[in-house]
Amino acid sequence: MKRRSWFLNLSATAGFIFLYAPIVALIVYSFNKSKLVTVWGGWSLKWYTELFNNEQIIEAAWLSVKIAFISASLAVVLGTLAGYAMSRFGPFRGKMILSGWVTAPLVMPEVITGLSLLLLFVAMERIFGWPSGRGTGTIIIAHTTFCMAYVAVIVQARLSSMDESLEEAAMDLGARPSSLFFLVTLPLIAPAIISGWLLSFTLSLDDLVIASFVSGPGNSTLPMVIFSKVRLGVTPEVNALATLMILIVAVGVIAAMYQMRRQARLLERLDNN
């Protein structure tokens, strides 16, 4: 193997330290025995026990998981339909604009998404009385909206790399469009749907900005609880909580990437022989 230059080594190391030093520090300090966040007092798991005895945090965590689960599931359904429509509708007037609109939430500043959704909910409540007040329901709607964009993009990419004659072959063999979707299209885009779900789950789980806009009293998600706690000063408990969240998010992202890789390899193998 070629020896890499010292400069390349240096920049790679510096980059990794820059990215991960804060996270490593946080993880290490979550095992700190001392009550003072900045003073090292030896290893301990006591902040984790304390964390699990903190009802407010456990409740918020449970709420976040529920919201993430429901919005990821809704986003997958809507996003798949949007992606399917975009890739199979054929060329139509305004297709570019429509696909631009679907993907806009990906690049829209979260503050704007959050604010506009808040305004919408308030206006809707005034006009048809629904949603009455803000809470879990509005957070779910908000998260579904932006997660759906991610799913649509992933599903569309998968569909456009898929041989369209597969669907024609199914029709030719007697499958009606409805059964064709469930027998052929859906199994083939399943990996994309799974990675879309995992991605949506983690995105929803760690969203703070949008949730702060559209949640109501007594409906604080986990990131909101952490944020409000940190404002009163960082406690080692928060470090422990953050470590657990990093773990969950990392597992989700790695699983999503693994799914995408696997499907890419499968397609490659199919093209090669």
Binding site: D163, S165, L166, E168, A169, A170, M171, D172, L173, G174, A175, R176, S179, L183, V184, P187, L188, L266, R269, L270, N273
Partner: protein, 389 residues
């Protein structure tokens, strides 16, 4: 009747001794009738007012270059494209408005389009399951079909674990399992290497004769069309230029396009100087002589025509032949030794280049002629084809 007898009769039917093929019989009922079929994509006319009759048990080849409209025509038969105008009638039933999943037609796709998430056996079973055939019968018919294409042992594999030739046979099995009245094949051998193609061509003909299915094959490969087809329809710019048996398409092309598209050909531009009842004389500056064609065709003196002569119909010699009807003089410019035959490029005095192929019937034929030799090229009158369009 066993299948081997079937093959024999079909081979001998080329010489038309025992039975007259349906397309030569007066008033024979076509199995597939295409009436004034047109397909436009916006301003572009892909298929232009085609009418065509295809008979039962035919293996009909649509031959054409890319963009000739052959695939669009096939896709209209399958129901994936809706005709702009015209009708398709299969076995007496008008197909207008009938969805692809309800047509008595199956298709073998160029990419094979095997479902990657299903095993070979499930791929083949797909069509039967949609019909609601019972589980035991599905199993039995799939096994039978896989045995026919010699893949009985691979039923549990996934498509990506198969070679190209095996996938091609799975695709064929899958398209035949519903016993369609009409099977459409889109470039069926396109993705196979040359040796495999040749084997598969004959296999395909055997299967077609065994099952008695009518095949419509789309291909751009003239060799494939020649080996497979009972008849060939040559397509160009959305129109069928000529429909004939392979032998006739090759020996009696009806236009310059067909002559050039099928095999290679030497074309000489000229005009009719003398039109006798039993012979036409055509003066060609390109050929540097007057070309004779006996058993005349209808044309008027002065009419501009093209004379087509196939490279293998021309003989090459040092001495002026005495028994030939048409003789040209030239100089050998290039020789390509191809093993079974040699190809000569001969420059005539007019500057026109003529292609001549000679079989290497003994080992030293190729050595006899060499570059820059002055030679005579000759052919018989009945090898001359006079083209007016």
């Amino acid at each position: 009747m066993t299948s081997s007898q079937n093959i024999e009769t079909s081979l001998s039917s080329n010489t038309a001794t025992d039975s007259v093929p349906a397309w030569k019989q007066e008033g024979a009922e076509p199995f597939l009738r295409i009436e004034n079929l047109t397909k436009k994509f916006g301003e572009f006319t892909a298929v232009d007012n085609i009418s065509l009759d295809i008979y039962k048990n035919e293996l009909f080849c649509l031959l054409g270059g890319s963009g000739s409209g052959k695939s669009t025509l096939l896709r209209m038969l399958a129901g994936f494209e809706t005709p702009t105008s015209g009708r398709i009638i299969i076995d007496g039933t008008d197909m207008s408005g009938i969805q692809p999943w309800k047509r008595p037609v199956n298709m073998m796709f160029q990419s094979y389009a095997l479902f990657p998430h299903l095993s070979v056996a499930d791929n083949v079973a797909f069509g039967l399951k949609r019909e609601g055939v019972g589980r035991a019968e599905v199993k039995q018919r799939v096994a039978q079909m896989l045995d026919m294409v010699q893949l009985g042992h691979l039923g549990k594999r996934k498509p990506h674990q198969l070679s190209g030739g095996q996938r091609q046979r799975v695709a064929l099995a899958r398209s035949l399992i519903k016993r369609p009245k009409l099977l459409l094949l889109d470039e069926p051998l396109g993705a196979l290497d040359k040796k495999l193609r040749e084997e598969t061509q004959f296999e395909l003909v055997n299967i077609q004769e065994e099952l008695g299915v009518t095949f419509v094959v789309v291909t751009h490969d003239q060799e494939e069309a020649m080996t497979l087809a009972t008849r060939i329809g040559v397509m160009n710019h959305g129109v069928i230029v000529q429909t004939d048996e392979p032998h006739d398409v090759y020996e009696y092309p009806n236009s310059r396009f067909v002559a050039r598209f099928i095999g290679s050909v030497n074309l000489f531009a000229g005009f009719v100087v003398q039109d006798e009842p039993d012979a036409v004389h055509i003066e060609s500056a390109e050929a540097g002589t007057t070309i004779v064609k006996h058993h005349g065709i209808s044309c008027a003196p002065g009419q501009e025509v093209s004379v087509a002569v196939r490279p293998e119909k021309i003989s090459i010699s040092y001495e002026r032949p005495t028994d030939a009807d048409n003789i040209l003089e030239g100089e050998i410019e290039d020789i390509a030794y191809m093993g079974s035959l040699s190809v000569f490029r001969v420059r005539l005095n007019s500057g026109k280049e003529v292609r001549v192929t000679q079989p290497n019937f003994d080992r030293h034929v190729g050595d006899r002629f060499t570059w820059n030799d002055k030679v005579f090229l000759s052919w018989k009158s009945d090898s001359t084809v006079v083209l007016t369009s």
